[in-house]
């Protein structure tokens, strides 16, 4: 704890303790907020999709307006476009048609999967009695890597930790000639994980690589 925290307590603690204006405190459903924090909002995909539709609509409006005032079309006028579409496999090389179709289908699949998949983010919750805490998996991995590194007595580059929702994989490359205890690493990582208490709690797996690092 830093001294800053204590100062804040001292200067602010007493006078406000009596005036408990906290009666209507958390009417906000924190579970809903946490669910929203750990799942993707798809805002980026939505903005892309919206812009795409707007551009297509603007182009259609432009061509119809050009036709309505009797000017020559910019790229293609609506009537000709409709006739071309009706006559489709002819008029275009099949390779181009197939490629255009594949690109369209891929874009469609991207949007469709965005909508259908659960969209979990790589985050865990920490249980704290007062506030809601969300932690990026990368932060958890860094903390676990540190404790594994200290337990194995190796350098930072010899440890790699991958954290997923229900699994933690710790990869350690020991220094050549220096024995490393797998149990010690497992214990250290599990202790750190227990102290952290992420939910859902992942399982720990240790991978000791058979080849060592020279001169680390």
């Amino acid at each position: 704890m830093s001294s800053v925290v204590e100062q804040q307590h001292d200067s602010a603690g007493d006078p406000a303790q009596g005036s408990s204006g906290a009666a209507h405190a958390s009417a906000i459903d924190m579970r809903r907020v946490l669910h929203r924090e750990t799942h993707a909002s798809r805002a980026v995909a939505a903005v892309i999709a919206g812009s795409l539709v707007i551009v297509l609509c603007l182009y259609a409006l432009l061509e119809s307006a050009v036709r309505a005032i009797g000017q020559p079309p910019w790229l293609i006028d609506p009537q000709t476009a409709a006739e071309r579409i009706v006559a489709l496999p002819s008029g275009l090389p099949p390779l181009l048609l197939g490629a255009a179709g594949a690109v369209t289908a891929a874009v469609g699949l991207f949007f469709f999967l965005c909508a259908v998949l659960p969209g979990r983010r790589a985050r865990h919750l920490l249980s704290d009695r007062r506030i809601a805490v969300v932690v990026d998996d990368e932060v958890i991995a860094a903390a676990l890597a540190r404790s594994a590194r200290l337990a194995a007595n190796v350098t930072q580059e010899q440890v790699m930790v991958v954290v997923s929702r229900r699994q933690v994989v710790v990869n350690v490359r020991p220094t050549s000639g220096v024995p490393v205890s797998e149990n010690a690493i497992l214990q250290a990582v599990e202790e750190e994980l227990e102290a952290m208490g992420p939910s859902p709690m992942p399982q720990v797996t240790i991978n000791l690589s058979t080849s060592g690092v020279v001169g680390a």
């Binding site: 704890m1 925290v5 804040q8 307590h9 406000a16 408990s20 204006g21 906290a22 405190a25 906000i28 924190m30 907020v33 946490l34 929203r36 924090e37 909002s41 798809r42 805002a43 995909a45 903005v47 999709a49 812009s51 795409l52 539709v53 707007i54 609509c57 409006l61 119809s64 309505a68 409709a82 006739e83 579409i85 048609l97 197939g98 179709g101 369209t104 289908a105 469609g108 699949l109 949007f111 469709f112 909508a115 259908v116 920490l126 704290d128 007062r130 506030i131 809601a132 969300v134 932690v135 990026d136 932060v139 958890i140 860094a142 903390a143 890597a145 540190r146 102290a195 952290m196 208490g197």
Partner: protein, 203 residues
């Protein structure tokens, strides 16, 4: 925590994605399978005939042209407006008021505490910590109530539970100052700034 309409996003993205997928697969089949081309010819010919008939039947009285064009143009403009509204909904919900309450004392008037108070207090308290690379504080309007979001960027290797506990202490101190318990979300995040920063090796 923001007011992004998530269900709407999923529905609209699903509809658009499905349409594009169907069109793309149809184009690929048209290019590859001759029997699909034959079916497409007969089907699209009948559709285009009925569309032409519809345009013929909706001529302006006494003038050249169909009023269906006007309807179509209006529909497209409406669609553009809806899309703009949809995009504008993304990421909404920031607010600048931490507390708005009626003063129960003898002086007439009410109290407003701006978000800058929480922001400055928390940022100052977190400023010279060696284990944090950065902190941002924002206030969101969640269903008409202010809520604090505190995003902390610890350096690599810092235990998140320690950061969370100290953030909880700070938030307690803040709510004692303000006199109201504001709902708080702490997001302990990794980012470009923490990734390239030096890990604390000695503690």
């Amino acid at each position: 925590m923001n007011g992004t309409p998530r269900l709407l996003n999923r529905i609209l993205l699903g509809i658009l994605g499905f349409k594009l997928l169907v069109i793309g697969v149809l184009l690929v089949l048209l290019a590859a399978v001759p029997s699909v081309a034959a079916w497409w010819h007969s089907w699209s010919r009948s559709v285009s005939d009925s569309v032409t008939a519809a345009f013929e039947g909706t001529q302006f009285p006494g003038r050249q042209g169909s009023w269906l064009w006007v309807v179509l143009a209006l529909a497209v403009v409406l669609l553009i407006g809806l899309m703009v509204a949809w995009i504008a909904q993304q990421g909404k919900g920031r607010t600048d008021l931490l507390l708005a309450a009626e003063d129960p004392g003898g002086v007439p008037g009410d109290i407003r505490i701006g978000g800058g108070v929480a922001e400055q207090a928390l940022k100052n308290a977190l400023a010279d910590r060696p284990d944090l690379a950065g902190a941002t504080v924002s206030i969101y309007d969640v269903k008409g109530q202010p809520a604090l979001k505190l995003r902390l960027h610890p350096r690599p290797g810092v235990a998140p539970q320690a950061v969370a506990a100290e953030a909880a202490d700070l938030v307690d101190a803040l709510s004692a100052v303000v006199g109201q318990r504001t709902p708080v979300l702490v997001h302990i995040a990794a980012g470009a700034r923490t990734r390239f920063s030096r890990a604390e090796r000695v503690r």
